[in-house]
Symmetry: D2
Subunit: 344 residues, 4 copies
């Protein structure tokens, strides 16, 4: 049993991580910090865990040494204290944005000045499907952003294949409210946010930087648009790609099967009947799956690739646990067995 602590554990990502780790057979939760909820039961912030744990929040100042430290902090906080965290644990898995980008200049462009740029190269980007081998030997992992994770997994087999026209890949992302975190604002006020279709980032979505980092040497600019929809958990990306030469839907499926057939958390949705012929985020709430579907346009050289995840699980905490499992050569699925509910 390894001892694990979570820094910044009162947010949605931290709560989802705690939920997963409480069910993980190889893990003991040592501490979970929250400045706001210090000394209160974790169930005050995460009421779903009533009956599952008696843990209380600690202050970050009281953090003790542990085997693995998870960081679930607002953007910009991890980088300021990273040297402290490195002394606490030999392995760090960061759920935030601070160490995702390899290139300092890119970080500056999208987020501002980085306070520990020399460490950017020490972190492995956390998407197992792209970086499994690196993860096996990594001590520091930066999990992908939720929207980026969904987009990267949805596009990766195509980009590897080099058949897509550069410069016209369009990613239309539909995103639930939990992706904006647990801090309330007028934008998240229920009467305002309810039933909305808010074009909150038509262009310049920060996750573009990650997508381009992971896929971009083979693409030109990636064109991301993000719309907030009536949903709490979940992201759907509707990706439009145009091909240099025409390709059949069957051949597209072959590319995806070839890339993902061994992946425990990628499901290719090929159903031709029923109401769930394409990926549907609500089926994925609490699961670590990324579901992918394809429809080739019969009238043109276009295909629509659709991908879905739970932003808090595969998009954040589940991805982190999957990475942890790989780092320790455990079964990659440990703690991530929940298969989702229907109807829901």
């Amino acid at each position: 049993m390894l001892n694990v602590s979570i820094v910044g554990g009162s947010g949605f990502g931290g709560g989802e991580l705690l939920r997963i780790l409480l069910n993980h057979p190889n893990i003991t939760i040592k501490q979970i910090t929250s400045q706001r909820f210090n000394r209160f039961p974790v169930t005050l912030a995460h009421p779903n865990l009533r009956g599952a744990t008696q843990l209380k929040f600690s202050s970050v100042e009281d953090l003790e040494e542990c085997d693995i430290l998870f960081l679930a902090l607002p953007n910009g906080v991890s980088q300021k204290n990273i040297e402290v965290y490195k002394k606490i644990a030999p392995k760090i898995i960061d759920l935030g944005a601070d160490f995702r980008l390899k290139d300092e200049e890119s970080y500056t462009t999208w987020y501002g000045t980085h306070s520990a740029p020399e460490l950017l190269s020490e972190f492995t980007y956390g998407i197992a499907e792209l970086h499994r081998e690196e993860l096996r030997t990594s001590n520091y992992v930066a999990c992908g952003g939720c929207e980026a994770t969904c987009s990267i997994l949805t596009l990766y087999p195509l980009v590897k294949s080099d058949i897509v026209k550069k410069d016209s890949v369009v990613i239309d992302a539909k995103i639930g409210s939990s992706a904006a975190g647990n801090k309330s604002s007028s934008a998240s006020h229920h009467p305002i946010r309810s039933g909305c279709l808010r074009s909150y980032k038509p262009t310049m979505h920060r996750h573009t930087a990650e997508i381009e980092q992971e896929l971009g040497t083979e693409l030109g600019n990636v064109h991301v648009t993000a719309t907030a929809v009536e949903l709490v958990r979940g992201i759907l990306v509707t990706v439009q790609v145009f091909f240099e030469e025409d390709i059949s839907e069957v051949d597209l499926w072959k590319l995806y099967h070839s890339a993902y057939q061994e992946e425990p958390f990628i499901r290719l949705i090929t159903d031709k009947m029923g109401n769930y012929r394409f990926p549907e985020p609500k089926l994925l709430a609490g699961t670590n799956y990324c579901d992918i579907g394809i429809e080739k346009d019969q009238r043109s050289n276009r295909a629509v690739i659709v991908g879905a995840i739970d932003n808090l699980t595969k998009g954040t905490a589940g991805q982190a646990v999957q990475a942890m499992n790989i780092m320790h050569e455990w079964d990659e699925r440990l703690g991530l067995e929940f298969n989702g509910l229907h109807p829901v």
Copy 2:
């Protein structure tokens, strides 16, 4: 006061039309037909009209002559009985798909064989912003499809300007459940449809034919993808366009102002503050507005144009009443004054 009747009045489009016409100062509703609800009060199908009318449904067999006949029928029904309807009223406004396409071949491709193709050319396509002059002298009008109407209005000023790259215009439409009509099915069953993000037409959306008809001589193929979202009324189209040469956001706004500044039902959403910086369909429920917003990508030759309507009002019944007003040289806004609710 002109006498108006509605054929197929128990559906959502027919109900919205009745709601609007009951408030129209120049109109008396003569008959409204429903085979299923014949002789029952219209409020059984349209409970919002309780207190506003004592009307009962009639059978289509009992239709009497009137001044204007609205058809709110399932696809394929109007064309079969069009000769009958022409005898009942000198002016016909069809809310369905039967007479929208000018080209018989196009109709056959998207819908199947037409039973009155010789009449296709007699109908004016009902979007006032494109066909106002024709409408003034038309006796037969075919209103645009809801998704098509939103897409056409959102793209029209750009297409007229000839600055957009052909063949890479992508329309990602998010659509509420009322657009699928009032007939229940497993797909519309609340536990299934609730909270969904269903990619129900990634390609081959039938409204593509209309969009290409109205805009297409200047575009190549239009690439439409439609996703059902958690919403009852409303459509949002997120349109991605790429420019031949770079253009500033200010110049894009000028194009739209120039095209639409006199339009009573187009609002250009230019707010830079607040939670409603882009069009938001929920604000439009029951209104005849089409709201349009623009964001030029600073990193590329792309812009995102966002358009929103209420599918049952501007997308169906409101469009029909606007056309009727024009046909009779009345104030175009008569009956369409409702400005929408907030919060909602």
Copy 3:
């Protein structure tokens, strides 16, 4: 045309009032104040009014004399400045809680110390169905609370009849999120508030005081429980009453018809078919109706009386306009003609 100003116009009640008054034929809006949005267009707070008005918010310090002053302020604010407001306009209609209760002791119990208790008796409680005659000659009106309004109207005919058992009347209120106002908090944060069934006031709901004031001499304690549900606008009250002696459903309907048959904004929902056999708040969004339904239990001396309103319209701003119309001997329905949407 009378000049009207609104103090505290950036909230949900103020916005709904502005929406209604902009359509009122006898009214000109002179000023609408907001400290937060001073000098900004009203459409920044009320985006549904885009295209309907060019008004900007004023500061309360700049208020000028007018014919009617509406107060749409947080609880406790009106009473502090009431002497100032009385100098600005000869007629005041308060949408808040400060002057609803006649009894200072009751106010103290439920809200705390009142700073102008001598004025409590000068205000007429604003529910027209109970106080129409008083309103005709009133200069000062305090509109009922939204939950209280719905409960009072639902129970009034029964209480007048003196057939209900005292001390066992139970009001179970289901309430949308807009009733809590436009200020965001963790309780209104979308991921938390969405899909909730929150028992936020099982007992001790403040509106109990008003209900008992208006109905209570003939009842004992009224037992109110309030649950927040997934809805933005709307209240449903499910009222359980037990009778001293058995009574038929027909006789209950007679009581309600007798009490309300002349009322323009009360609808008795007697349908025995369809999906809307009982009042349904979503049909009432934006309308001034209170819908009421009845079911007598065949097995006992119990009946269930169900009432629904839009909390922002009949429950706040619509009630205020109805009172204003009565105070000026105008048609009671002026400005309140909107009949609601379906589906929605």
Copy 4:
């Protein structure tokens, strides 16, 4: 490993049961029947199980002998074929209503004529918290109705204590759409059902019979009212009780602690802070918990007791598995470990 089959496995209850049993360590699923989906993969009806099973539906005619047979059939079907089912398995657990009532006359009153009334006495009512000892030796179990289960568990400690006034217990139940099953109708059509607060059973709810059976010797009539709310999974019951003599909230909690302290699936929600101070069904989706909260009215001899469950889990399939575990002297929690999600 015991072999288990499910009859009627394409419905929501059958799907939830399959989900749970696939994770149960002592169980192998032998067959799951559906006439409509015979030979199709179970994931066509239960898409959440993609990746978890390769099972296909069987026809009921092809049922083979097994150790335990679960019946998840529409009301009235189990009783017609019960003799067949008894030959297939020595233990039967029925999720439907056919064998819940002990009294044939009561069954006739609420449901109509029973075709196997002689078997009513052979079935144990499935709520473990009331019938654990009987379940240990039962071969035939009839699980409680979802609304009844929630009401019974919420009221049971009070009723045992004999301090509640008879004849004025009111149960106001708020119910999600999945409780009405997977068959679509105009009532479940998304545009109609969405956002509704439908008083679908103000009186005469069938589950009243079960509640009175389980609690009723000590109560008089139980007064149930059911309202359909915007939610897929979940029931909240708001129960109003009046006491013969006044009692403190602390003493009420003692009653509940005393009754339920050993129960693995009852949680008493005593939080005085945060947004989840009372039971909230959305936290319970997929869990077997029944959460209970209490608020004593300071002004009267009333208390409000609030209970919540997931209608498909504790209200149907989870209850069935809990009963199965008890029947086999397994750990009662096997297969039912999922603790729920937040936010959701």
